[in-house]
């Protein structure tokens, strides 16, 4: 097998470092689709490569040789994958499958629970306004999705800003945005190198909803102000909402660049991003290379097995 077989294991690293640029430079709906589909494809490709590497060790086992009528000398001679590498690959594959299975199961349960929560919310309308004084607003996935807004949040915003908030949450609800984050995180569970990509999918859906709300309001500055005011009002809420998870997120943020909210505001204050074909093509090419090397590696392994079986290649 060639060095090319390792490409799908390296390409997720490239995806991880370029995800932020893609989320910033592409129109958010395109960025969301591109990042989600790429994350899934790259996770599949890297898992497939691990599987092929492990298989190449498996066919060296005497038992497998006997069952498959393989020529041991042909197998040993032709295969460049060392046994330790193959064993490591097999172990990684098992770990990846287990992690993805667990994460997927947990996510399905959370979504089911959220669906029930959505149907249990008071009233029949899409929007539920609670009398809570803390500023908060969110969409609960369900059939249909429900939008919960607190009085505290409504009070913190002007009428125009409230319109932006509603349009933003409706965009999440109408486009089933929770599915994008769920799939991206599934990919990241299978291949942790893809975690930054999943994080950028989370950011890109917020940008998608922001841009849509700004377009409906016909005023990007108003949309930016709505987000800034809502975030400052939420930050004034009692600290009990800061769970361990958000606290960790905050610590991570303190050390580096601005967090997602200032990033979203800054993006709205700048002109909307146009579709950069160059970026799009580059990203798709990366994924395609990954897929092609899996196919090539699978073909090589197949040829090797046929060779070892003494059949014409």
């Amino acid at each position: 097998m060639h060095v090319a077989i390792y490409l799908p294991l390296v390409i997720p690293l490239l995806a991880a470092v370029s995800a932020r640029t893609l989320a910033d430079r592409l129109p958010p709906a395109a960025a969301t689709w591109l990042l989600t589909v790429s994350a899934l494809a790259l996770a599949l490709a890297s898992s497939a490569v691990l599987g092929l590497l492990a298989l190449s060790a498996l066919i060296r086992l005497p038992v497998v040789d006997a069952v498959g009528h393989l020529s041991r000398s042909a197998v040993a001679h032709d295969d460049a994958v060392s046994v330790p590498v193959a064993i490591a690959a097999g172990a990684l594959l098992v770990a990846a499958a287990t992690a993805a299975g667990k994460a997927g199961w947990r996510r399905v349960r959370s979504i089911v629970r959220a669906h029930r929560h959505a149907s249990g919310l008071p009233g029949a309308g899409e929007v539920v306004v609670t009398e809570d004084v803390d500023a908060d607003a969110y969409t609960v996935p369900g059939w249909p999705c429900r939008i919960v807004i607190t009085q505290g949040m409504l009070r913190a915003l002007s009428a125009g800003e409230q319109g932006v908030l509603l349009a933003h949450e409706r965009t999440h609800a109408r486009n089933s945005h929770y599915l994008f984050t769920a799939l991206a995180r599934l990919a990241a569970a299978a291949n942790p190198l893809l975690r930054p990509v999943a994080a950028e999918v989370g950011y890109a859906i917020e940008r998608w909803a922001d841009e849509r709300a700004a377009a409906e309001a016909g005023d990007r500055t108003l949309a930016a102000r709505a987000i800034a005011h809502a975030a400052l009002a939420s930050a004034a809420a009692p600290p009990e909402r800061v769970t361990a998870v958000t606290a960790l997120g905050l610590i991570a943020q303190e050390s580096g660049k601005p967090g997602p909210v200032p990033r979203r505001v800054a993006a709205l204050l700048a002109p909307p991003p146009g579709l950069s074909l160059l970026l799009l093509v580059a990203a798709i090419a990366l994924v395609a290379v990954s897929g092609a090397s899996v196919v090539e590696a699978a073909r090589n392994l197949h040829q090797l097995i046929e060779l070892a079986q003494g059949q014409p290649v």
Binding site: L121, P141, Y178, A228, P258, V261, P262
Partner: protein, 133 residues
């Protein structure tokens, strides 16, 4: 049943594979769809699985302490129900319980995420700049 006293023994009796937040959410779900006040025994039946009776009692009294559940005494047992909805108060508290699950951000799409201190400063500056210009 004292609320504070139940904490530690609950950690011991709750099955390790389910977090405390998850169990609370499951109990709330049962009561929300129950239609009538339920006793701990009834809640335990409807949840299914292998929960200990004492665990259910602890979760119920903890939720009661958090103000999410109301309870009525009938005979020797307490019957629990979600608090009467001053529009959506219980809804919000349920969301807070959902929050405690790990998949929070991915399931609930919040309008704005938490701010760090430097984020807060940056936002105030952005707003001030907008007003000046």
């Amino acid at each position: 049943m004292r609320d504070g006293a139940g904490q530690t023994d609950d950690e011991a009796t709750a099955p390790a594979r389910r977090g405390a937040g998850e169990l609370e959410a499951a109990v709330l779900e049962v009561l929300q769809h129950g239609g009538a006040p339920l006793s701990p025994g009834e809640v335990r039946e409807r949840i299914g699985g292998d929960l200990a009776y004492t665990t259910v009692v602890t979760i119920l009294s903890r939720l009661h302490a958090k103000g999410v559940l109301d309870r009525r005494k009938s005979g020797r047992a307490y019957y629990y129900l979600p608090v009467a909805d001053e529009p959506g108060l219980a809804a919000r508290r349920m969301a807070r319980v959902l929050d405690e699950g790990q998949d929070r951000e991915a399931v609930l799409a919040r309008f704005v995420s938490a701010l760090s201190e430097s984020d807060e400063e940056l936002l105030r500056k952005m707003l001030a700049d907008g007003e000046g210009g």
